[in-house]
């Protein structure tokens, strides 16, 4: 789950980089001409794009379809949106993805640690500021004064108050009040912490930090602007003087309340003194630019269908588009044809796993339905170790590039499906790559009975430590996963149907203990309990 969120964050960071670059450009382009209150909107667009987990698709989007990168997609199985046009990309992804999955988990841990550190930092800061403000005293309205602060600011999310140091001269005090009231009116006391939260999530992305810093500057400009709008030159001079009193401007990107006059004082004074009524055309032009950027850059192209975070409670969906045609279904011929083309081009080895729903598989064979909900499929090497994973796509396929040590796949089961293994049917070294590389992984839903095997000795007493496996008769590779009986002599295996590779197979149960082997051939897919007696 966490990895899925991390993937989504990485993807959003990548897809939003164009928007942020445009936002910075727009911000500097309109900063002299258009009102700052309008210019600030661009940061709202950026923040929303970063904060919202889902993506809005429009036909006007110019964002490139998410290119596949190992960093972005550890699942390793991605191609262009529903087409076969990007094999090289998918191959590159798969190449790095399989060994990269451990690195992916490490990266995810680092990401969480960084975000946690920033949030803890913010929490400590909040605690310290609250302690400072505890001894403030009321000073009329929502204003309080405090000995322990050096510059005025607004504090509090829902009941914001203006905090000021004692001993400000009357001019400064009135200017400060106007400025801070403008902050409250703009709800900066809420948006600034929210922006910081966004930064905590995207802490690895310098573009996000740049946005945050510019946002912090722009809200100050916007407040100066709303205070100075339509005021006399004298007022503006006084306002500039008040700002000058706080010219200890420091460059900080910390979590601090919207403090008066801490940022960019020189340029703010200049603006306050020279503030002209921004023309309506300029304001409209700026607003139009921002709306255009929001539509073209903050949305995704139709059909990109990259959904990373699904509504809570559901298994997250990897951004996986496999061999799927527009209607979401694909015949085996299509896949084979695709593979032939692919291998002729690249000389690389690909495996396609087709996920088959057990009941349908028994009844309809290989032409039935595929499982359309994305499942996490682990890749196994010759030693049975997990070497990576992919997510199946919504058409029930999982495709990935493999090396010669690839021997199988397994699925761990989730709330809907039992676990299933396909092992040693696939030997990457010996496969003929131009035809036979689509494999069925049969997956049983939870209603399917598991195979419960009770092993007894000739006297009928339970036998512990016996190896039980379920496989298909005549299977050359008897490498089906082994389950060991407990002290009650019972081993619980996945449903027998998951041992099937073809619907005409007959599975059997094999029990092994000290070199004794007992095989039971009559295995019924829908039967749960079996009792097997060993004979010495």
């Amino acid at each position: 789950m966490i990895t899925q969120i991390f993937n989504a964050v990485l993807r959003t960071a990548l897809t939003s980089s164009m928007l942020i670059a445009a936002a910075v450009a727009i911000r500097f382009a309109v900063s002299r001409r258009a009102p700052k209150s309008v210019a600030c909107l661009i940061w709202a667009v950026v923040a929303l794009r970063l904060a919202l987990p889902f993506e809005i698709q429009t036909g006007l989007s110019v964002v490139p379809r998410p290119a596949v990168e190992a960093e972005k997609q550890f699942s390793g199985f991605v191609s262009g949106a529903g087409t076969f046009e990007a094999p090289a990309e998918a191959a590159a992804a798969a190449e790095t993805a399989i060994p990269a999955y451990k690195a992916a988990e490490l990266a995810c841990a680092v990401w969480i640690a960084g975000a946690a550190a920033l949030l803890i930092y913010a929490a400590v800061n909040v605690f310290l500021i609250r302690r400072k403000l505890a001894e403030s005293v009321p000073s009329g309205g929502n204003v309080r004064k405090c000995d322990r602060i050096s510059s005025p600011f607004v504090w509090g999310l829902f009941k914001p108050k203006i905090y000021m140091p004692f001993g400000l001269d009357p001019n400064t005090e009135s200017c400060v009040l106007l400025h801070e009231k403008a902050h409250i009116k703009r709800l900066d006391n809420i948006t600034k912490p929210l922006w910081f939260a966004v930064c905590a999530v995207y802490w690895f992305d310098p573009l996000v930090w740049i946005s945050y810093m510019l946002f912090c500057h722009d809200i100050e400009y916007a407040c100066d602007e709303s205070v100075c709008r339509g005021k006399s030159d004298e007022f503006r001079r006084n306002y500039g003087k008040a700002l000058f009193g706080y010219s200890g401007a420091r460059f900080n990107i910390t979590f601090n309340p919207a403090a008066f006059g801490e940022l960019a004082v020189k340029s703010r004074i200049k603006r306050a003194l020279g503030f002209k009524r921004a023309g309506k055309p300029a304001a409209f032009a700026a607003a139009a630019l921002i709306v255009a950027a929001a539509i073209c850059l903050a949305t995704d192209p139709v059909g990109s269908a990259v959904t990373a975070v699904v509504p809570e409670g559901e298994e997250p969906v990897g951004a996986v588009q496999g061999p799927a045609e527009a209607d979401g279904h694909l015949t085996p011929e299509d896949v084979t044809d695709y593979n032939q083309r692919l291998y002729a081009d690249s000389g690389k080895k690909y495996i396609v796993i087709r996920l088959r729903e057990a009941k349908d598989f028994i009844e309809n064979g290989t032409n039935g339905k595929k499982i359309g909900s994305p499942l996490k499929i682990w890749l196994l090497n010759g030693g049975g170790e997990r070497i990576g994973y992919v997510y199946s796509n919504t058409s029930g396929y999982a495709r990935f590039e493999v090396g010669n040590d690839f021997f199988g796949v397994c699925f761990d089961g989730d709330e809907n499906y039992e676990k299933s293994v396909l092992y040693n049917y696939i030997n990457a070294e010996t496969l003929k790559w131009n035809s036979d590389c689509v494999f069925d992984l049969v997956i049983a839903d939870k209603s399917f009975p598991r195979t419960v095997v009770r092993v007894t000795d000739p006297n009928g007493a339970p036998v512990s430590g016996a190896d039980v496996r379920i496989s298909v008769r005549g299977d050359r590779y008897l490498y089906a996963p082994v389950y060991r009986t407990g002290s009650d002599g019972v081993a619980v295996l996945p449903p027998a149907v998951t041992a099937l590779k073809y619907n005409f197979d007959r599975p059997e149960i094999t029990v092994k203990l000290y070199g004794y082997t007992v095989t039971r051939a009559e295995v019924d897919f829908y039967r749960e309990e079996y009792e097997i007696q060993l004979e010495w």
Binding site: A134, E135, S136, V137, P138, R144, K145, C146, D147, F166
Partner: protein, 119 residues
């Protein structure tokens, strides 16, 4: 000018105003008043009480909080500070500054002068 009155910060002064009005008063009652008038939490009030007790501004023994310095003493000390810092200790310069901005009347000025001479 001799100055042995302990330093009191602005917000502490607001607290002292309440104390002078109510003393002798129990800690919890003081906390209740401070909550109403200053918006302070109980712990904040208790912290301030113990800090001012350590500085010799008040005493909080036997369940009652009492001030050790009077309002007049504090005011005089502050004024003395101001005189030293801003008017090179010159009383006439100090009064002249006030009368010039028209903030105090002749009578008030005389009174201030008398007060300071009593020192």
């Amino acid at each position: 000018m001799e100055n042995t009155t302990p330093k009191i910060f602005e917000s502490e002064y607001r607290f002292c105003l309440i104390l002078w009005e109510k003393e002798p008063v129990s800690r919890s009652e003081l906390a209740a008043v401070c909550k109403e008038k200053l918006g302070w939490s109980r712990t904040t009030t208790y912290t301030v009480i113990s800090r001012l007790a350590a500085r010799g501004v008040l005493t909080a023994e036997a369940g009652a909080v009492r001030s050790l310095v009077s309002k007049e003493e504090v005011q005089r000390a502050e004024m003395g500070d101001l005189l030293e810092k801003r008017f090179e200790g010159s009383l006439p310069a100090f009064i002249a500054a006030f009368t010039k901005v028209g903030k105090i009347s002749e009578r008030d000025a005389e009174e201030i002068k008398r007060m300071l001479e009593q020192q």
